[in-house]
Amino acid sequence: MAKVTIDGIQIDVPDGTTILNAARMIGPDVAPPTMCYYSKLKTSGGYCRTCLVEVTAGSEKDPRPMPKLVASCRTTVMDGMVVANNTSAKVKDARAGVVEFLLLNHPLDCPVCDQAGECHLQDLSYDHGNYKTRTDFERRTFEKIDIGEKIQLHMTRCILCYRCVKTAEQITDGRVHGVINRGDHAEISTYIEQAIDNDFSGNVIDVCPVGALTDKTFRFKSRVWFTKPVDAHRNCENEKCSGKVVLWYQGEEVLRVTGRKDQWGEVEEFICNTCRFDKKQTSDWTIEGPRKINRHSVISANHYMNMVKPKEFKLNEIKQITE
């Protein structure tokens, strides 16, 4: 066991835990934001630098501070380590810089993007970014690539977090897409523009932190805050599929099916393409009830859940009270 202090809060964690996971054990208030790290995907993390933290004391035996900010998703804790996340001005400054770098080439087409409202980059830039841009050159563009009937790829929005690549590697068998080219020219692509037709390829939509990979069957249908999320499940024929999903309703119509995301924005269990794309009837599912959404999220806007209708008084009742 190792004892770490993050933002002044002490916690005992098993050896080999990363700083990020130790912070997540304490709670969402001290956990650094992540764009590329995904706890369900092995070897993810280490690309985006949004989870940088300051280590003010390395360990009990060697309490010197670490010279630079470290990526908390890749750094394991030491006994007696002291970490500053939100309390460090250096971290806030670095994070604002990271957001600026991520937004260098990211188009601000949120009004058009289907991910808007549940986009991690939106949240990150609201919390840690600057309101102004310092660049005035053209943003990077790509030739449009069609990667199949069900998944829409917007390469301009990609921040190269590699989550979808890891999903393709680990969740689906036989990966057909990856990152090609290098540096500024790097892009997500299927080799020779092959269509993705694996049973679990739809999960790349859920893991994508931005709107680079979106559901083509939901494209421009609605905005997430006009839909109502409902937990549901079915006995999926696919053994690897859990069948536990969220149905996004508008009126009586199921517009979209996604996996269930936890408080870190990561899906709890991966679902197969049949559940995601082909089962869009209420009769296909066993409804569990409305999904709990954080009331600060835009998705919960104008959803009147758990609201008690105020009592209506009749005229003679009002007279009784006032007289």
């Binding site: 058009v112 309101y131 249908k221 609605s222 104008n302």
Partner: protein, 209 residues
């Protein structure tokens, strides 16, 4: 005896005054008395009333003959909505839904559609509003839709909303809301300022592109 409620009566506790709650001390006690002979004539009161009426004949009229004559409207006046087009005549609205989610009266409903090839001169972005409806009976003209719009698409103009005879006629679709392409159809909103553009506003404008 005329004075049913005199001051003395009010202060002395009796059943009548105790049961009625008195909220302020500004109520006046009216004392009725018999008219004297001058008041019984009624003529002085009639003439003083006529004098007021005649005086108003020579005053400037307080009303205008709308719609031939129009009053000057303040630049912050919030009237009928307009969906703007850009310089090239393309619709600004991309059906992002921010106006609808900002609307406290939930008066706006939108359906989006994808722009097809050949429609680039009609819509500015790859997505556009296929249906844009404002229920003018629900609208409270707060202007929050205008503030929420990231594309400068919706504005509240200085036009007064006309009356209608049926409820259905108050649901304004794109045919009424979108301004015309040619110069005569354009609605001038150059005086309008968004909340964050106002002087002394603490919020900085967001990046536009």
């Amino acid at each position: 005896m005329h004075g049913l409620l005199s001051l003395n009566n009010l202060n002395t506790p009796n059943t009548k005054t105790e049961s009625t709650m008195q909220l302020t001390n500004r109520s006046k006690v009216v004392v009725k008395h018999d008219l004297n002979w001058l008041e019984k004539l009624y003529l002085p009161a009639i003439f003083s009333g006529l004098a007021i009426t005649i005086k108003h004949l020579f005053k400037k009229s307080a009303t205008v003959r709308y719609p031939e004559e129009k009053r000057e409207i303040a630049s912050v006046y919030r009237g009928q909505h307009v969906l703007k087009r850009d310089d090239k005549g393309r619709e600004n609205c991309t059906a992002c839904g921010l106006c609808a989610v900002a609307c406290p009266a939930e008066a706006i409903s939108i359906e989006a559609a994808e722009r097809k090839k050949g429609e680039e001169n009609l819509y500015r972005e790859e997505k556009y509003a296929a249906k844009y409806e404002i229920n003018m009976l629900r609208c409270i003209y707060c202007g929050l839709c205008e503030d929420a719009c990231p594309k400068d698409a919706i504005y509240l103009s200085d036009r007064i909303v006309p009356t209608a005879f049926t409820r259905g006629n108050f649901i304004y679709g794109k045919d009424i809301l979108v301004e015309g392409i040619d110069a005569s159809g354009r609605v001038d909103v150059s005086k309008r300022k968004k909340n964050y553009e106002m002087e002394g506003s603490p919020k900085q404008p967001l990046i536009n592109k």
